[in-house]
Symmetry: C2
Subunit: 400 residues, 2 copies
């Protein structure tokens, strides 16, 4: 099969006009001509770009690794994420009881190893905690924020079916024992993000060389910038080699101007967009959302939303179209990024695909449209609205 | 007279090898040859650059516009500032009683209008306050921080011998009546810096168009950066057209990494180096310096320094070599800037001469070595140590 467009995007700022060939689940090449009778889908002047990789997503629509660690829940994320352009992701946990995390790693292993070419690829797990600082817990569970423990970390590692399931971990490097944990994770090929952290600038400077690669949800849940103590924010902006991961661009948790400042300071090779969505519809306990000013109350096969303004609404949990509206999805966040910082298409591709693929170690198969890589492909119009999504070469049905 | 060097620096990144001609107080041209028997001073491969312009200096060595508004005090600043490479400056006041400020403006007018080619040029006055915010008073006198008043501002304007003496004013734009004051000053050709200010990002965004041109001592005395309220710091970094003025680079009030971050974000055309020195030896009342951890006690024709560590020292007020050591001077601050941010020579010239000259409206005669401008010239070696200083064409005797 061939996808035709006047704007097919490849790394190193190359835009080509022609035919992208898909063979099974792989990208098989690019050409300016096709054989007679070839199967061609003509996308005109729509943009053909790599699928988005979300390295920080707890849940979305009808699945949530946060609230329901079952195989079913992970499969729901795989099924519904492509609706927002996400073609691969790390299931992300939070500060939770150890046994829940072990169960999650176990189930994620199972899905990773048995998944067929069905929906978004589960690339592994991002452990956001539990070794994070209570002082900057944000919406994490305080009682589950604990000091780094090599014993617990080894349990996490052992819960994997094989190395490579846990690909990213968010830690607070100022906590006692962090250095040893960083070293252990780094030996295992796990990237380490600083997050939910009160670390000083000097702490990060001193520990960086042991394997700190970036920060989680830049600006939020970290010691802010001060001109005598630049903190985590200052370190993330100052050190060229630290990646800045951004959560979804709602404009509520971080002002667009702050994002624009980081955009200006950092190399575009060191910015990674994520959503940090939670799959909030699947919460098991009533949960107050301080930004939405709503309480989410589980109600059997539905969720009730009670607003501070007195409003009440119920949504069925299997109503994908309904529950997905509860959180801003990946491509809508990217449209906001476009409005705020005016990136080039190539910059968008870097921060949504190339950079996370490289950072979490999957650039051999994800993150670009080069020959031999997985056929995870988005077709978008000039307003960055999705026209088509391919996951592992299969076209996604966009009505879930 | 001709100054010869292999490195004479002109604007637009031009470095020439040859002869800079001085006629009286003016730069008369540049050439690669000179007439036979011409008077030539050969500086080899030393750098020949424009003199530093300090738009924010309260006092220095044996003179202080802060502590002694007399003509004598201003003349002492003129005499001693060239020892640190400063060839022109704005005498800078603080939050002080109105009558003191009026006296200062009056005396500065007199010196501006009668100065011969003697030492550094007094370019006029920088009023740092009194319309500043007590909440961010820093080392300013709280009881003298007042809300903007058009009546008082008109008194300041009237105290000038003619328009153009007051060239810069630092205000807190969030104070009531600030907008009207900004408009009045702008009509009078006075630049307005934001400083000692709790202004929000939106306040600055809304008032900027009325005539806010920059910020005073970046990072200090202003609302800091937060990702939901970027404050004065965020506005200064975000808005390309705001100038960032930096105080002397001691590394104590602002961490070098914070300076480096601003250096990275801002255009080099929008950074202005100053010292913000006080002439602390001339304090009239005992004064505790919280950074030096010393109390300065006036003692007749001397000053006694009592350290928190029990140390006691007395320095005679006419001992220029002694009192100048009490504060870091301009060129030493620039050497620290070089160590921290590794600027090019052209960038140094921008932030020390070209930019302040343009900002305070004296670029017709100061800020570069172009023909027709005042012969305010520095000769420095490759370590940025002063080898010679010319003020208005006259070579300065470097032993004061």
């Amino acid at each position: 099969m061939y996808l035709k467009s006047s704007q097919v995007y490849f790394p190193n700022q190359i835009r080509k006009s022609g035919y992208l060939r898909i063979e099974g689940s792989q990208i098989a090449g690019f050409s300016t001509e096709v054989p007679a009778n070839a199967e061609v889908v003509d996308y005109g002047d729509h943009l053909i770009i790599p699928g988005f990789i979300d390295q920080h997503i707890h849940g979305w629509a009808t699945g949530s690794f946060n609230h329901d660690k079952s195989v079913h829940s992970l499969k729901e994320m795989k099924r519904t994420l492509p609706l927002e352009g996400v073609t691969s992701f790390l299931a992300t946990s939070g500060a939770e009881p150890i046994e829940d995390l072990l169960e999650g790693i176990h189930n994620a292993s199972q899905v990773v190893d048995t998944q067929k070419d069905d929906g978004a690829t589960l690339l592994g797990v991002h452990l956001e905690g539990p070794f994070i600082n209570r002082e900057y817990k944000g919406m994490q569970r305080e009682e589950c924020c604990i000091d780094p423990s090599l014993d617990i970390m080894r349990q996490f590692l052992d819960a994997q079916a094989h190395p490579g399931i846990i690909r990213l971990m968010t830690i607070a490097p100022e906590l006692p024992g962090a250095r040893e944990l960083i070293e252990l994770c780094h030996q295992q090929g796990i990237q380490l993000n600083i997050g939910h952290s009160a670390a000083t600038f000097d702490c990060i400077r001193d520990l960086k060389e042991y394997g700190l690669g970036g920060v989680t949800h830049m600006f939020s849940g970290m010691r802010g910038f001060h001109h005598r103590e630049p903190g985590v924010v200052g370190a993330a902006l100052f050190f060229d080699d630290l990646n800045c991961e951004f959560a979804k661009q709602t404009g509520m948790t971080v002002r667009p101007e702050a994002v624009a400042m980081a955009w200006k300071m950092k190399s575009k090779d060191k910015i990674i967009m994520t959503t940090d969505c939670g799959g909030i519809a699947l919460t098991r306990k009533p949960k107050y959302h301080y930004i939405r000013k709503q309480t989410f109350i589980p109600d059997g096969d539905g969720i009730i939303l009670k607003g501070d303004d007195g409003s009440v609404q119920r949504i069925a949990l299997n109503d994908v179209a309904g529950v997905r509206k509860l959180e801003m999805g990946y491509i809508e966040s990217i449209r906001n990024l476009i409005a705020n910082v005016h990136p080039s298409v190539h910059e968008i591709i870097k921060v949504t695909a190339e950079n996370p693929a490289r950072y979490i170690g999957v650039s051999d198969r994800k993150g670009s449209l080069e020959t031999g890589k997985d056929a995870d492909i988005l077709v978008v119009n000039h307003n960055f609205e999705l026209q088509a999504v391919y996951c592992m070469g299969k076209k996604v049905v966009m009505e879930a």
